[in-house]
């Protein structure tokens, strides 16, 4: 069973969200039922797919690592690095299935997103900002059902604030209304528009030829946007009904004026996560240790590492690696242009400049997604 698709899923989702609505309207705390909801939904979805045992092992593994890390007084650097590696291990094993097909048996839905949740706890525990997190909150955060299969990527601190906040009836109603709307809007995007695009535009295209590839590039870009943003929106909508405000994942990405702007509008929760935990950490350590003569070099190197990891996270195949490096190059070029060309900012403020930039950005992004789609390689 795939989350957020098929009549049966939505029927069960609606049925199991009803008690949350009742609790929310009665101004009762939602988190206990929320965890129950998460466990039941996971048991249904993963049970039907025959992956429940794998999920339990995965959960115990990650929760164990998080608990140990958050309870160590002052974990050494090596210990912390080891924990990060162990937390990444299941994801890496699954990704390696491209090379060793026998690893495919570990393939578990949602691993990439759940790994991100565990990783932040381990990383933050090392800097001493998370101490003795309760098992309840940890489990709820690690497993939180709505975002399990396709994000968005939430942050622990934000999540914790949400589930312990009191919502009065009026606030809950507002959240509920927006949640229901987002669910339906997302379904319209992901199940309606993206399916139409696939059936009417992409699947009739011939496999070979230059023009079909160009057409595929445009079609796939829109298809992926409607599909992905639709699923994100449904996840966000369902989370609202549980009193959790999952962060937004898309904000009109095709209006981006440059590549950096694009990454603050497309799969925002992933780019923010990587910015904070990869780019920022890397650049800060470079600056502190004066690793580069020109500090900006650290920034460019940071972008490449950041984007390569972003590509690799999607899978260890050539096209994702190229996709990552392509965006590393684009973001660096973007920053170089911003700094090197005095006219950049004024140009960006004129209306015709904006039109040109938005069009150029759109095409650069579409080309990237064409690489991503695997049609070329």
């Amino acid at each position: 069973m795939t989350p957020f698709s098929g009549l049966l899923f939505f029927y069960l989702l609606g049925l199991l969200l009803l008690p949350a609505v009742v609790l929310g309207l009665l101004e009762k705390p939602l988190k206990h039922y929320g965890l129950l909801f998460t466990v039941v939904m996971l048991a249904i979805v993963f049970g039907i797919n025959g992956q429940l045992h794998l999920l339990i092992v995965f959960y115990l593994w990650q929760a164990g690592l998080c608990l140990i890390c958050s309870r160590l007084k002052s974990p050494s650097r090596a210990l912390s690095a080891l924990a990060v590696l162990l937390s990444l291990l299941p994801l890496i094993l699954i990704r390696l299935a491209v090379f060793f097909p026998s690893l495919g048996m570990f393939g578990l839905m949602g691993v990439s997103y759940m790994t991100f949740r565990a990783l932040q706890i381990i990383l933050e525990a090392r800097s001493g900002r998370l101490r003795r997190i309760p098992i309840f909150t940890l489990s709820y955060f690690l497993l939180f059902f709505p975002a399990v299969s396709s994000g968005p990527i939430d942050r622990y601190r934000r999540f914790e604030d949400d589930i312990s906040a009191f919502l009065n009836q009026e606030e809950y109603l507002r959240l509920l209304r927006r949640g229901v709307f987002k669910l339906m809007w997302g379904a319209f995007f992901a199940l309606g528009l993206s399916t139409l695009l696939w059936n009417l535009w992409l699947s009739p295209l011939p496999d070979k030829g230059f023009l079909p590839a160009v057409s595929y590039m445009y079609g796939y870009t829109f298809y992926l946007f409607f599909n992905f943003s639709g699923y994100s929106s449904m996840a966000i909508g369902a989370s609202y009904i549980l009193g959790v405000r999952l962060p937004e994942n898309f904000n009109m990405p095709f209006l981006s004026l440059d590549i950096k702007d694009f990454w603050s509008r497309w799969h925002m929760s992933l780019s923010a996560f990587l910015r904070d935990y990869v780019y920022t950490r890397f650049v800060r350590s470079c600056l502190k240790n004066k690793r580069f003569k020109n500090p900006r070099t650290a920034s460019y190197a940071g972008y490449f590492i950041n984007m390569a990891i972003m590509g690799g996270w999607h899978g260890f195949t050539l096209r994702y690696l190229i996709y990552g490096l392509y965006h590393g190059l684009l973001v660096s070029a973007n920053e170089a242009l911003e700094r090197g060309w005095k006219g950049f900012r004024p140009f960006r403020q004129k209306w015709w400049g904006q039109v040109i930039m938005a069009l150029a950005t759109f095409h650069l992004v579409s080309l990237g997604l064409l690489i991503f789609s695997g049609r070329l390689i």
């Binding site: 950096k260 904070d276 920022t280 800060r284 500090p295 911003e338 900012r345």
Partner: protein
């Protein structure tokens, strides 16, 4: 006042803005004065000069979008 002056000085250096251009309520991200690299450099500088450590990954962009918000955030970090 020391914190405020120091932060404004750092911001002026980082953004290359003219003296007085940085209004306390000016949105630094909207105007493109501050980017990801700027944020990292800002907090590395603050840590070096003021000895206040703020982990950049725990900050929401919204919390540091203007000079006055940055000052508030750093003061909060200095208190605890």
């Amino acid at each position: 006042m020391k914190i405020e002056n120091e932060i404004m000085a750092i911001l002026n250096e980082l953004t290359g803005a003219e003296a007085g251009e940085l209004e306390p309520a000016l949105d630094l991200f909207e105007t493109g004065l501050l980017d990801s690299f700027g944020v990292v450099s800002l907090f590395v500088e603050i840590e070096e000069r003021l000895g206040v450590s703020v982990a950049a990954e725990t900050i929401l962009r919204d919390e540091i979008s203007t000079p006055e918000k940055i000052v508030r955030r750093v003061k909060r970090a200095a208190e605890c």
